[in-house]
């Protein structure tokens, strides 16, 4: 899986740096100096990495960084990753549509019930606790402005 991801990243970086160089080519030198100085070597390096993945050995470099778990079967990893990504995107959509004050308890409760298989009492009490923390800290104490959400704006 890591070589597919590396290829995707390398191609992505190639596209981004290629676009960055072409766009910078038409700017005054003051604005173009740094993007060109970075973009050109970046394009060459990403092309090298892509070629390496396609034609070289599929060796895995042991990076000094956080490592994903390797105890779960690859198919299951893909499935669970996709599910989590869907929850994350869903939470974002809920925030945009209904605003933080509604989306936060809605998401926490739904996640606990559906994904974590928690009981009704635990889910309700835990959601209430998270909601109290969110409301107390960010709304009452820090007075952060949270917009109402697009759905409410449309209705009103």
């Amino acid at each position: 899986m890591h070589s597919h991801a590396s290829l995707a990243l390398a191609l992505g970086v190639m596209a981004v740096s290629g676009y960055a160089v072409i766009a910078a080519w038409f700017w005054p030198w003051k604005a173009a100096l740094f993007p060109l100085a970075i973009g050109i070597p970046l394009f060459v390096l990403s092309a090298a990495e892509a070629a390496w993945v396609l034609f070289g050995k599929a060796e895995r470099s042991e990076v000094q960084d956080f490592q994903l778990t390797r105890d779960v079967a690859e198919r299951e990893v893909v499935r669970r990753s996709a599910t989590t990504a869907a929850w994350i995107v869903g939470f974002f959509a809920a925030i945009v549509l209904f605003g933080f004050p509604v989306a936060v308890p809605f998401f926490v409760f739904l996640y606990l019930k559906q994904q974590a298989d928690e009981g009704w009492i635990f889910s309700t009490v835990f959601t209430a606790a998270v909601w109290a923390f969110f409301y107390g800290l960010f709304d009452r104490l820090l007075h952060l402005p949270f917009p109402a959400g697009w759905a409410f704006t449309w209705i009103s």
Partner: protein, 499 residues
Amino acid sequence: MIEALGEGLFLVLHWKPLAFMMLGVALGFWVGLLPGLGGATTLALMLPFIYAMQPVEAFAFLLGMHAVVATTGDITSVLFGVPGEAASAATILDGHAMAKKGEAGRALGAALASSLVGAIVGAFALAIAIPIVRPLVLTFGSPELFMLAIVGIAFIASLSAPGVRGMVRGFLSGGLGLLCATVGQDPQAGIARYTFDSLYLWGGLDLVPVLVGIFAIPEIIDLAIRRTSIAGKLPAGRVSKGALEGVKDTFRHFWLTIRCSLIGTFIGIMPGMGGAVAQWMAYGHATQSARTAEERKGFGAGDVRGVLGPGAANNSKEGGSLIPTVAFGVPGSTAMAILLGGFFLLGLVPGPDMLTKHLPITFSMVWTIVIANVVTVIACFLFLDHLARVTTIRGTVLIPVILVLIFIGSYTSNNHYGDILLTLVFGAVGYLMVVAGWPRAPFVLGLVLGKIAENYLYISVARYDAAWLTRPVVLVLIAITLAVIFWPLVQRRRKAAHA
């Protein structure tokens, strides 16, 4: 200097910074214990909350939190054989072996006491390094500062993954960070670069949503993949039993603890090496310190020296890695790169100002490391038995809470939904990087240093043309950059020739 040292202490002891430090210590405490949460991730998550703080309060909060993560990370390593932090992995070898032999208390006592000694040595190194590096930093102009940024990225890119392949990926990651830093209105010509007619992007990519996405999202996904309770079953019996014996061990092997602390400090100073390297080098040194083969056999099977070495090194590295971060703006680790972001959020520029105008703030960091660790070690000894239970929190319960924090954290950067979108985009990039084995630290460094590096490069070229490349210090720094890039290749070739 002494005056500034005292002033630094008074700054930290004011009620507000002290309260923020305690809050940070409390957070770092739990983060260190929970294997699913990384110290760097939490640092990134907490960055949005420092906007309204004074610099001393913000550093007391962030450093207080970060300084104790490795200390409590050792507890999880010893009790469950699961590293609370990447920097606590080496403690497992002998610490967990001791726990299995019924000596968990002794191992924890040794880990906590050596952590405290290590933190004090690291903070002391930071304090004495300030007068030494100050004259050096004050002679640096724009060309030298630009080259220092390049040296930093070269270091972190070449050392964060081994081999030629790893180095290429490191430079790709760093280059991508530098390129991302060019998004927004160009300060010299006023051109809107890569903004796609979006007003949100005119100000550039905000550090907080990017860092939160790139660090927190992959860990959340991993936590969801594992679907486990964080650390499994708690060992039977009271773990605090025998902790005093572990403290005594620290003093029985005091010079080993000091030597390992110095190793940690030195590795902390080297940009890109990180705590993961420090603990293993210290462990290696502890093993070498055994005089006979018989003595050496005990390592890995529960020798207390195998706990003392990594315990001291992974805490002393914090003071060490603050030296290049504060003095040159070259972070010694991923966490320091994020902390560097904190400097800019607070309107502080690392470098000469931190060693002159803001010297008391710099010294307040020294005191924060010391006080935070003393408080943590005392708290650990008091609540050792209760603490161990925390690691049984189910991952599925943690995920929604962390996601709420992630989204609120990134949204509050500019109060714009674009911030959350940015977090999601860079979360996907971060996840791909982790899967592909691309190091994320060079990306962060590139993003953080990009704007100042561009500024220094522009001033250098505008003022000296190409002549800036012939300045003596610049030449030395170019030589260091080339050495950093080519030395691992030479070493690899040598090894291959020997084999």
